[in-house]
Each structure stands twice: as C-alpha cells, then as structure tokens.
C-alpha cells in the first residue's frame, strides 16, 4: 500500500554476466520490463561506443525492412497481422538475417530495375505506336523535314511558346493528346504527341536541343507511308511480346514479396529487440578479459527477485556455466521515480507527470487528484469515452453530487422533501400580511420570526428549493458559494501542507518548516473559516450582522473602533493574539532552518580545520563548497518564506474561482432555460408543440455544447490549475526523473 502514495523504493544493482549469455539475459530483462540500465560510459560519444557496429548493422537491417515494407504496401499485398515472436535474437541470428536481407534486397532491386526498364521500353513503344497512328493525320503533303516526339502534357504550352519566340512562326506544329489506355495505367503521366515541320537543318538541330531541355523524347519516323505501316506492325508485335514479359515479371515479384511479407513482422520485432539489446550493451562496461559484462541497473526493490530469476533463466538458456551475479550496492545518487499505474490511475498520474516527475519517494499527489474535482457544479452527466475516461467519469459523479447539493438542475429545483418554509403563516391572523399586501407591494419578505413560517428543521439535503423562486436567490447563493469556496480552499491547502509533513518526516525538519507553516495558515485562514461557520450558526438580525470581509481586514489592521465588527464577546484579545502569532511565524520560518544549518556548519568547520592541519586537501575543498551553499540556503529559505506567506493570501483568493465558475454555470443554464425553452412553453396555441420541438433541439444542442462540453472543459482546467498551483506548491517539488525501463512491450506499443 505504501507504493500507492509514494513512488517505488528503488535500488541500484550491479550485474555481472558472461559475454555469451549477455544476449539472453538482456532479452529476459527486456521482456520483464522492470529494469533501467544506467549509462556507465557517460562521456563517450555515440560512435565511440563498443557495439556501435552492431547497432549500425541493425539500423541497416531496419532500413531494408522499411524498404521491403514499402514495396509490399505499394503492391497491395496484405501483411499478416500482429505477430509476437518469442524467439531470442542471438548474435548468429544477426549474420543470418543480414545475409538474408541483403539477398532479398538485391533480388528485389534487380526485379524492380528490370521491371522499370521493361516498362520504359513499353511506354516508348506505345508512344511510337501513337505517333505513327496520328502522323498521317498531321501530314498535309509529303514533307521530309520534321522533328517528331512525345512531350509531357503540361510542358507543351511552354514548349510551343518558346518555339514561336525562337523561330517567329516559321514552322508548323501539330500535336495530339495521347489517350491513356485502360490496361496500361502504370504510367499515368499525360503526354502529347507533337510533330514540328520546319525548313533547314540548323533549325532542326536547335529544336532537337530544345527537346532535350524539355525532356521530350524524339522518335525517328519514316516519311513514306508504306515504311510507316510496316514499322507499326513491327512495333505492335513487340508490344505484345513485352506485355507478356512484363506480366511474368510482375508475377514473380509478387511471389517474392508475399513470401517476404509473411515474415516481415517477425523480422521487424527481432531486429528491434536486437537493436535494443546492443544499445543496452553500449551502456554497460566490459571486463578487460572480454569475458564479463558489468551493468548497473535501477530496479524496484520488490522486483529484485523476479529480476534475479529472469537473469538465471537467461543464462541457463544460453548454456552458460556461470550463473550471473546480482550485487546490490549502496549509492548516493538519486534513483528514478517509478509509480505503478493501472488504467484507472494512469490518467491522474499523467496529469501529475505533466507538471513534473516527483522527487524520489516524494508523496504522490495523483492519489488526491480527484478531490479537487469536487468543485464542479450543477447536475450533468458526461459520457464521453476518451483517454481520460476515468477522470471524466469522476468529474461527472462529483458534478451530479454538487448539482444535488445546490439543488439545481437546468436552473430548476427539486422539491423532494418539502420546503421548510411556508407562506401561509405570514397571512392574517398569525402574521402581518393581508390580501392588500399582496396587491400593493412588489417584494414580500418572509419573516422567520413569525411562528410557522420556518419549520425549524432545515431542508434535509442541499439547498432549500424555496430559494429558487426567491428574488434574493442570487445574493444568497453567491455569499454561500463564495464562503464554501474559501472553506474548501483553505481545507485543500491545509491538506497539502499536511502532506508535506510526510515528506518532511523523511527529511527530518518538521519543527522548522511544517509547524510554523501550519500555525501561520491556521491562525489567519483557519480563523476566517471559524468566523464563517460561527456566523452561520448563530441567529442575528440581518441589519446588525457584521461583514466578515470588513471584520477580517480590520483584524489585520488592529482596528476595533468602527461599529458592527463584533461577532462574539472575547473577539478582540483572541484576534490580536492570532495576528501576533501569525506574524511571529514569519521569522521562525525564515531564520530557524538556515541558522541551525549554520551552527552545524560551524562545528564542521572546526572538524575540517583539524583535517586541514593533517594536510587533507579534499576536505578543504568540501568545506569551501559548503560555505558557498550557505548563502544559497539563506536565499532559498527567504524565497520559500515569502512565497508561502504571500501565497496563502493569493491562493485563498484564487479558490474563489470555484464560486465564479459555479455562478457562471448557473446563470448560463438559467439563460438557456428562460430565453430558449420557456419561450416555446409559453405558447398556448396549437403551433406550440411544433415550436417546442424546434426550440428543444436548440436547447439540447446548446446545453450539450456550452454547458457540458465547454463548461466541463473549463471546470477541468480550473481544477487542474488549483491542483497544480495552489495545492501542489505546498508540498510537491516534482524535480525527479522518470523511471524508463528497457521494455519490449513498451517498444512495441510505441510503434
């Protein structure tokens, strides 16, 4: 259960295993996914590491795999679905796979290049065919000076323009678009056949050059009709032949690719594991004799046994004679932070990690994440299923709860238990009202002092429904919600400070930090809550009731002269005492800790002087660094004190956002009710039903988009802020680093 509130207890472990069993061992650990390898060669650049060649080889294999996959996908061959291989990649596999891949790649490349040349030939022949087909139509009279060719469709206009510019129209240009053949859709580029008739060889040479530049292919074309016909039949037979060859090639390629596709997943996972293993080995040290590999790992203490078992299992598989040695070592280094999550807690944990990964063994705030969701008002259900579905689910539950408390659903109240207020007793003969009063006055005031008006028992759950129709509903609820926000805020912050206690017990300075902080907050803001609750509990005339705001301000100013600030009898001495205590806490917080450290440091100085006498240089160095850090401690403590004291005030004010949100939400739902749905409900004619259907649609859409989605999001954001800033800064440092174990499962998920 301890790990629920804190990150796991980690330990640094040294592993020794034989070079031969390294693969199997790391493979096992990778499957286990609970071990983070420490880099034992930090200063070394990537390409100077030991297994860099092997990593490169793996990368090369990955490249070939990508190439294969591309080819397979391009040819629309299905890749067999997810395949998890349990085979262990051993070094000889690398050689095996490598040669296999190389062969496959070469083969495929050869096929591809063959196919490409064949296709190119084929297109050329098709183009000649087209050219011959249309040539006769272009020819007015026998002419033997021409350039004929095929050019890309979109280049033709530019080509034509330049011809005009260069030869000033002294040529005849004919062109026709090639109609693409259905079956030969492998070359989807639109092309034009053109023939330019010109005079003079020089100009023809220029046109040839131009054609080169425009990537137009020129074809010789016989200028007598018979030769053309013969050429055409010739071309046609060659086209048929080529078509056959192309088909064969295509079939062969497909079989090769299908065979490759079947193994693709297995190979990919194998290579990936292989690369991970070599990458991990790069982090380890190798013994001079090359026989032993030394690794340092972080792993959770509770999983030490399974790590050991995995290692033994791995070395047994490799048939190694020596079983690996696991050696737990003491260390000063900060271990990584590891919080186990389930699908329910992972959403909350990622919210916390987004702010900062906790220090090692720091109390985990995720557990308390949901208590800030309490703040969300009004009855609503959100049934979206996204990643943070549990967060949304909890938010929905709390929303419903607060909705019930405020007795507010679509700005209407439920009168389940019957209101505690009754109007009837206000009338004659018990009360002052007569029928005339009803006619004459716009506002009527229910007086709880008249017997029978207020039953004496409050409404059993939530706000009394009569407030929903009261004209001072808003000011009542505002004051109520505002005070609730402050109470909840202070409680939330106190909870945060209390959580810091748990961190301090580990760090042993409760008296210097925790106690003054708690006293400071309790004596000011705890007292504020007391005032609020006290005022709620005693009956007072509304005219003479003191304003808590003024009362609190005057308390800080020691001003007791103004009237109407007295709530109870011994108020003045109590308040003066509390303010003085709170002010005293500031120097305590500010100086006690640094001064204590200073004293310790002085003792140390004396000791180190002794050491210096014995010419112990290392200690002198340590002593200098200690002196430097003293100034740091003073500054740090100063900042912390200022931040805490001012923070208490501003954070309390910040919790008023709960009230503001609730107010905005309630008003919006009231507006939607009154301006949209009620309009239709008031229509009494037969068309009312139609109008109702229309307005209800609008009402429903607006409710979902504004009240549920938008307001839900804003409530979440505000809760997040309150949690991150106001709550977490009381106890959470969040400057740790995350535990990133070698895990094959995670690697697969990342893809």
């Amino acid at each position: 259960m301890d790990s629920f509130f804190r990150s796991e207890e980690m330990c640094l472990v040294q592993l020794f295993f034989q070079t031969e069993s390294a693969h199997n061992c790391i493979n096992e650990l990778g499957h286990l996914g609970l071990v983070q390898f420490k880099d034992l060669n930090p200063g070394t650049v990537a390409f100077q590491r030991r297994f860099v060649k092997e990593v490169k080889k793996c990368e090369e294999m990955e490249r070939i795999l990508r190439f294969l996959e591309n080819e397979v996908v391009k040819s629309n061959i299905p890749i067999p679905a997810d395949f998890t291989s349990e085979t262990i990649p051993v070094p000889r596999d690398v050689l095996d796979l490598e040669s296999r891949f190389d062969k496959l790649e070469q083969e495929l490349k050869e096929i591809n290049s063959n196919r490409d040349t064949l296709r190119q030939n084929f297109t050329q022949l098709m183009e000649i065919n087209h050219l011959l087909k249309v040539f006769d139509a272009f020819l007015f009279y026998p002419h033997d000076r021409f350039v004929a060719g095929v050019i890309k469709h979109e280049r033709f206009p530019a080509f034509e323009k330049i011809l005009w510019r260069l030869f000033h129209g002294n040529f005849v240009l004919r062109h026709a678009e090639i109609k693409p053949h259905e079956e030969e859709n492998m070359d989807p580029v639109k092309k034009d056949v053109f023939v330019v008739f010109v005079q003079g060889d020089q100009i023809r040479g220029k046109i040839r050059k131009l054609c080169d530049g425009f990537h137009a292919s020129m074809y010789p074309c016989p200028n007598n009709a018979y030769a053309r016909k013969e050429m055409r039949t010739n071309v046609n037979t060659r086209i048929e032949d080529l078509r056959l060859v192309l088909k064969r090639t295509e079939e062969f390629r497909e079989t090769t690719l299908t065979a490759a596709a079947a193994n693709l997943q297995e190979w990919a996972s194998k290579v990936k594991k292989m690369k991970a293993i070599y990458y991990t080995l790069n982090l380890c040290n190798i013994d001079i004799t090359q026989k032993l590999i030394v690794a340092e790992i972080w792993c959770p203490v509770s999983d030490l046994n399974s790590v050991h078992t995995a290692l033994i299992h791995g070395s047994e598989q490799s048939g190694s004679s020596l079983s690996p040695v696991v050696n737990r070592i003491q260390t000063q280094q900060t271990p990584p932070t590891f919080n186990r999550v389930t699908s329910f807690t992972s959403g909350f944990q990622s919210i916390i990690d987004a702010y900062g990964v906790g220090n090692y063994q720091e109390i985990n705030p995720a557990v308390h994440c949901f208590d800030c969701n309490v703040s969300y008002p009004s009855l609503q259900l959100i049934d979206m299923l996204v990643d943070g579905r549990y967060i949304i689910f909890l938010m929905g539950l709390f929303s419903i709860y607060t909705g019930l408390i405020y007795n507010d659903c679509f700005s209407k109240s439920f009168n389940v238990f019957g209101s505690s207020w009754s109007v009837r007793p206000m009338f004659h003969p018990h009360g002052p009202w007569t029928n005339d009063t009803l006619h004459d006055s716009g506002h009527l005031h229910l007086d709880p002092l008249v017997s029978g008006v207020y039953s004496g028992n409050p409404y059993p759950f939530g706000v009394d429904p009569i407030w929903n129709i009261a004209s001072n509903k808003l000011s009542f609820l505002n004051s109520y919600k505002m005070k609730m926000s402050v109470i909840m805020g202070v409680a939330h912050m106190l909870f945060g400070v209390t959580l810091s206690l748990v961190n301090y017990i580990n760090l042993k300075d409760v008296a210097l930090q925790f106690i003054p902080e708690v006293i400071f907050m309790l004596s000011l803001f705890g007292y504020l809550i007391f005032l609020i609750l006290y005022k709620w509990c005693v009956v007072m005339k509304s005219e003479s009731a003191p304003s808590i705001l003024l009362l609190f301000i005057n308390m800080m100013l020691f001003d007791y002269s103004s009237e109407g600030t007295v709530l109870y009898r011994t108020q003045k001495p109590v308040q003066i005492f509390l303010v003085v205590v709170a002010v005293l806490m500031v120097p305590w917080l500010l100086f006690a800790k640094p001064l204590l450290l200073y004293r310790k440091h002085k003792q140390l100085k004396f000791l180190s002087l002794l050491f210096c006498l014995s010419l112990f240089f290392g200690v002198k160095k340590a002593f200098v660094s200690l002196q430097v850090s003293m100034a740091d401690i003073f500054v740090y403590q100063g900042i912390h004190t200022i931040e805490y004291c001012l923070g208490c005030i501003s954070n309390t004010a910040s919790y008023l956002r709960l009230w503001a949100l609730s107010l905005a939400h309630a008003e919006l739902s009231e507006v939607l009710w009154k301006m949209v749905l009620q309009v239709a409900l008031r229509v009494t004619s037969g068309m009312g039903s139609v109008l109702l259907a229309v307005t209800f649609a609008a009402f429903a859409v607006l409710t979902v988009t504004i009240l549920l989605v938008m307001e839900g999001l804003s409530a979440f954001l505000h809760a997040l802020r309150l949690h991150w800033v106001e709550f977490q800064n009381k106890f959470y440092k969040g400057s740790g680093y995350k535990f990133t174990p070698l895990s094959f499962d995670r690697m697969r998920d990342m893809q």
Binding site: F47, I64, R155, A158, R165, L166, L210, G213, H215
Partner: protein, 350 residues
C-alpha cells in the same frame, strides 16, 4: 503592399512563422559541430547527424556515403522545407519567397549559358542547377546566342524579365558576357528586392534592409576584387555595383577607381563594419575574405530571429540552413581528405 502591423500578421503568416521558428530550433549548435569535427569517417558523421533534426536523412537508401551524396541530401532537405513554406504561403509572403528564388534562377541561367558555350550537354547541366531556381524555360537557355535573344525568346515569360532592362545587348555571348549578365541581373534583382522590403515596412524593412544592404556591398567588393587582372574597366565595373547598399554612392565611386586590393581595403576602412572584415585576421587563422563575409552574413541573419511578425525570418532561415550545409560539407571534405587541421574553419551559427 499592405503595411503589416502586428495583429494582422499572424492571420496570414502566423502558422508559417511558427513553423520556421520551430525549424530554426533544429539548426546545429556549436556542440554539434564540435562532435562532428571529432569524427574520423563519414559513417561517424552520419551517426551523429542521426541524433539531430536531420534524423534518418542520410540513412535512407543504400548508396555509398560520399560527400556529394551528403551535399545532395542536404540540398534536397532545404528544398523540401522551402517548398512546404512556399506552398502554404499567402501574399506578400509568397512574393517574398519568390524573390528569394530569383537569385538562384539567375545563377542557373548563367551556369547554363557558360555550359552551352563550352558545348556541354543540357541533360548533363540540368541536374547541376540549383533546385530552388528551376523554371520551365530553363532548358532552352543554351540555345540563345545573344543577350537580346536570351531575353526576347526565353526569359521574357519568366520573373527574371523584370531585371533584364540593362542587360539586353546584341553582342555575342561569351564567358565574360555571361558573368556581366549575371552581375547586371543580380544588381537589378537586389535593387528590386530591396525596394520590395522597404515598401513592406515595419519589422520586415528593419530586418531585411540591412541584410540586403550588406549583400549589395559584398557583391560590390567581390566584383572589384575579382576584376583585377581582367579587362573590365572601372566604368564597366560601376555599372555592375548594386546601388542599394551602404557604399552607395560615395563608396562605390571610390571602389570604381580602385586598382588593387590595398585601395579596396582603404575604401572599406571608411565603414566600421567592413573595416573589421578587411582587417588582417589574427595570426594562425586561415579565414579567407569570403569566410569573413559569410560570418558577417550569419550574424545579420541570426539577428532576424530576435524580432517577431516579419518576413525576414524566412530569408534568414534559408540562408542559415545553406550555411549549415556548407559547414557540414566542409567538415565532411576535411574528414575524407584527412585534413584535420583545417576542420575548424566552419562558421558556427548558434
């Protein structure tokens, strides 16, 4: 062209500016260069580049790793990014980006002309053109025999036609003529681009004008220095100087009169920024004049990222990326030729 004030800038160009700033974060840093310079083989470089934004740029395909392959891939990379920016852009950014491509078009035209003069095949020349400056009529450039023909037959439809007003002549094209055409086109181009940026106003003007002024002055200096020993006269030279730089008009007049390197240096002495460039480098440094101009350019371009809501970042990003490609190629060349002593002559950017 609308004077772009802040609130409206993001409506049209906000996304792309964000994109380009994100891309800028991927520009190699000093520590990257430091690591690259330690490599012993191109394979090592590839491995290191994998950990940068280039990722698997060099791993795709199984051709042998050569410097020219790296060069090709880097150019392709720049081209992809630029095309992405260009195809998402709206005016005036699209016009601005087009202006950037014109300088490559000019270079391509001149290269094709000189190639044709040397009887090279067009098919062989085309792959060597800068991909950013590709245009349809490019292939026909080799056919023209005089600048007038070049203009009226081929380039009249291209955006370069605008810059041609001074370069039209009936003289036969030769290599010297091609160079002169290049510089004349470039002069007109720079002046037009400068005017465009000035009319854009706001931060675009503040950022781009100094960069283009520097570019103009650099060309003026380089033209002068390169013309020594050729038959290009002072008058001929002054027709090639772009007039939008800070040297205009006094400095250019002095440059036209200069007859050797010392005199050019004397001109530069009047301008503190250029004095620094022309000053003798400290002993041991093997930086050429060109390198020092590049350094200055990099500095100006990095400044562009300090301000927001302007078009200059797009220009600067492209130029910095080109410098980065030059740096990588330089290091790669040094690595393959085992010239470790010169490897540190790259120009770090950030």
């Amino acid at each position: 062209i609308a004077n772009h004030t802040h609130p409206y800038f993001n409506v049209d160009h906000g996304y792309l500016e964000g994109l380009v700033r994100g891309l800028k974060a991927g520009i190699l840093t000093r520590s990257d260069y430091h690591n690259l310079a330690q490599c012993d083989t191109l394979e090592d470089m590839k491995l290191h580049l994998q950990s940068t934004d280039y990722g698997s740029l060099l791993t795709a395909g199984n051709e042998d790793l050569t410097v020219s392959l790296i060069d090709h891939r880097l150019k392709e990379n720049i081209l992809t990014e630029f095309r992405c920016l260009r195809s998402h852009s709206l005016p005036p950014l699209s016009t601005f980006l087009d202006y950037i491509t014109y300088s490559y078009m000019i270079d391509n035209v001149v290269m094709l002309i000189t190639g044709a003069l040397k009887q090279r095949d067009v098919a062989e020349l085309l792959p060597r053109c800068h991909p950013l400056g590709m245009f349809d009529q490019m292939a026909a450039v080799g056919i023209a025999r005089t600048p007038a023909e070049l203009y009226s037959a081929i380039l009249v439809d291209t955006p370069l036609a605008l810059f041609f007003q001074d370069a039209v002549s009936e003289a036969n094209l030769d290599e010297m003529g091609a160079e002169i055409i290049r510089n004349k086109l470039y002069k007109a181009y720079l002046e037009a681009f400068y005017k465009f940026c000035q009319e854009s106003g706001g931060a675009t003007k503040n950022i781009m004008c100094p960069i283009l002024e520097f570019e103009a002055d650099r060309r003026a200096f380089i033209i002068t220095v390169n013309s020594f020993g050729t038959d290009l006269s002072g008058v001929g030279r002054s027709a090639l100087y772009p007039s939008c730089g800070r040297l205009y008009p006094e400095g250019l007049r002095l440059l036209a009169r200069a007859e050797d390197y010392e005199q050019v240096k004397a001109v530069a002495d009047y301008y503190p920024d250029y004095k620094l460039i022309f000053d003798e480098p400290e002993a041991g440094s093997s930086r050429t004049l060109e390198d020092r101009f590049f350094e200055r350019e990099v500095k100006l371009n990095t400044l562009a990222f300090l301000e927001q809501f302007h078009l200059g970042v797009f220009y600067s990003y492209l130029k910095l990326k080109e410098q980065e490609a030059r740096n990588i190629i330089w290091i790669a060349e040094c690595v393959t030729q085992r010239q470790k002593s010169k490897i540190d002559n790259y120009i770090p950017i950030f």
